[in-house]
């Protein structure tokens, strides 16, 4: 892999999609109701499709997915966060899909973005529907949803760190995202956290290849079989 590929913004977008798809896939057989098994798998499949299309633009999809070390992955930390309960998964999706929709909406010269934005609108809508129901459902669901919002909030700032090479107005992205997300949180009777939207680590975050601890084991599990048979075809 050349250094130019490592610097391409598409790589970060592909990593976002792959890692979130992988996380969603971990719900298989564990969802709260069968209908959501199908819904979460649909989103996971869309994201995997996006990742594959983006990787293929850059090189060999499997080499990029399976043979890079943890530090070479450029996904944001938000998508690698463990599933937690259904509220954490859906709030994570709300934060990410709202951002992805705005981003893909601006990337009109990227064919993948033009196609994928329709998928993403649906993901965002699904996440909004559930945020409303969990936030304004029972006391327990409200507590869980608020906890999810509070826990994940610190990973949202990274989304607006400019990705060099993308022709995007990041300030507009941020204000658009905040308007959208806080609007939904309000309607869901949830409180928008006043804490910072980033961690206190000055070195950076996922876009710089600095990840949270759960990411390593996840990646190890994902890559181990491929790496155990070097050069084999599957």
């Amino acid at each position: 892999m050349t250094s130019t590929v490592a610097d391409r913004p598409e790589l970060a977008l592909a990593d976002d999609a792959l890692i979130l798809s992988h996380r969603l896939g971990q719900w298989a057989g564990h969802a709260p109701v069968l209908e959501e098994e199908v819904a979460l798998a649909n989103i996971a499949l869309d994201l995997l499709g996006q990742a594959r299309a983006l990787y293929s633009e850059l090189g060999d999809e499997d080499e990029l997915a399976y043979l890079r070390e943890e530090r070479a992955f450029r996904n944001c930390q938000l998508v690698e966060q463990p599933n937690g309960d259904f509220a954490v998964t859906l709030v994570r999706q709300l934060f990410f899909s709202s951002w992805q929709e705005l981003l893909y909406g601006q990337l009109t010269s990227m064919p993948l973005a033009v196609k994928a934005v329709k998928e993403v609108v649906y993901h965002r809508d699904h996440a909004e529907q559930w945020t409303l129901r969990l936030g304004d459902g029972t006391d327990e669901s409200h507590r869980r949803a608020q906890h999810a919002v509070d826990t994940l909030w610190r990973y949202t700032g990274e989304l607006f760190q400019p990705l060099p090479g993308l022709d995007v107005c990041w300030d507009a992205m941020r204000s658009g995202w905040e308007k959208r997300v806080t609007g939904i949180l309000d309607r869901a009777t949830l409180t928008v956290p006043d804490g910072p939207q980033h961690g206190g680590w000055a070195a950076g975050a996922g876009r710089q290849g600095l990840h949270t601890e759960p990411f390593g084991p996840m990646l190890a599990e994902m890559q181990h079989l491929h790496r155990s048979h070097p050069g084999a075809a599957w």
Binding site: H22, A28, G29, H30, P32, F86, T138, W234
Partner: protein, 367 residues
Amino acid sequence: MTTVVPGKGPGQGPGQGPGQGPDASGAADRAAVRVTDRAADRPAGGLAERGTDGEPGPETYESAFDAAVAADERIEPRDWMPDAYRATLVRQIAQHAHSEIIGMMPEANWLSRAPSLRRKAILMAKVQDEAGHGLYLYGAAETLGTGRDELLDKLHSGRQKYSSIFNYPTLTWADVGAIGWLVDGAAITNQVPLCRCSYGPYARAMVRICKEESFHQRQGYELLLVLSRGTDAQHAMAQDAIDRWWWPSLMMFGPPDDESAHSAQSMAWKIKRHSNDELRQRFVDICVPQAEALGLTLPDPDLRWNEEAGHWDFGAIDWGEFKAVLKGNGPCNEQRISQRRRAHEDGAWVRDAAAAHARKRQEAASR
């Protein structure tokens, strides 16, 4: 009343062309069943009781039912049907639905480790299909007046079974291929005749499922083919998987015909169209040449072509193992049902939340 099921032909009325309509009546039937506490058993305000007044009596219903089955017509939800027919169907459809959702687990076990992105996407789509198939089947069962909650409860408490095959573990990646080729292959052999099952909603669910399943078996076969032709380690992995999955797959067709408790009545009712042994033989005959093309060996030294019968003879099945696994002593029985129960229990607050939210909105709207 001349027939039990809606007749074919022009009498069906406008707006009900071929392949359209009949399920919609099923929909309403189910609603009626729920609202009136299985009023479907005694349609139209207890017409059955009016038998004494010279109106059709229960025996008329029964003979109409028998005639419809004999004529290969479909029985639809609100038609009169014998209680035992209804019970048999509920049991069979529920077991089938349970098998789909428990069957997600052994494959999902490899979702996080699929060795290429292409395989990851295929496997994810397949596991998703199984959830979908579970939904179609629970829907079919509900047309008989039994709700999904009740069925899930019976699964979770061990009062209803799922296919025993899913009590075996997936130990290597090749097991994903073996499940696709052998387990789904056996399932398809069983299911294709069910598309002609006498109960309409079940038959229609099976048509949809069989259409979608065709990719499952193929992807499994292709997966194994790539392994078989790959490195030595991959080939060995594939052979090992076949060695472990072959016999349990043959057991999927159920006990031999002379020991099968429900077979004869189910055949008479056309819920079942072929005997266990017949389908098992059909499956073996299909698999032998396919295994050869894979370059893999089926683990049965007694497998040989019987010229006279025109079939492959195969060795004795270990029914002791079958019964032990069925009784709960398989390698994964406890694990599967625990995971299933946990998913349901962990999800209770989510289901409650959505129901509470819906109630709030209804109240707000009615104010």
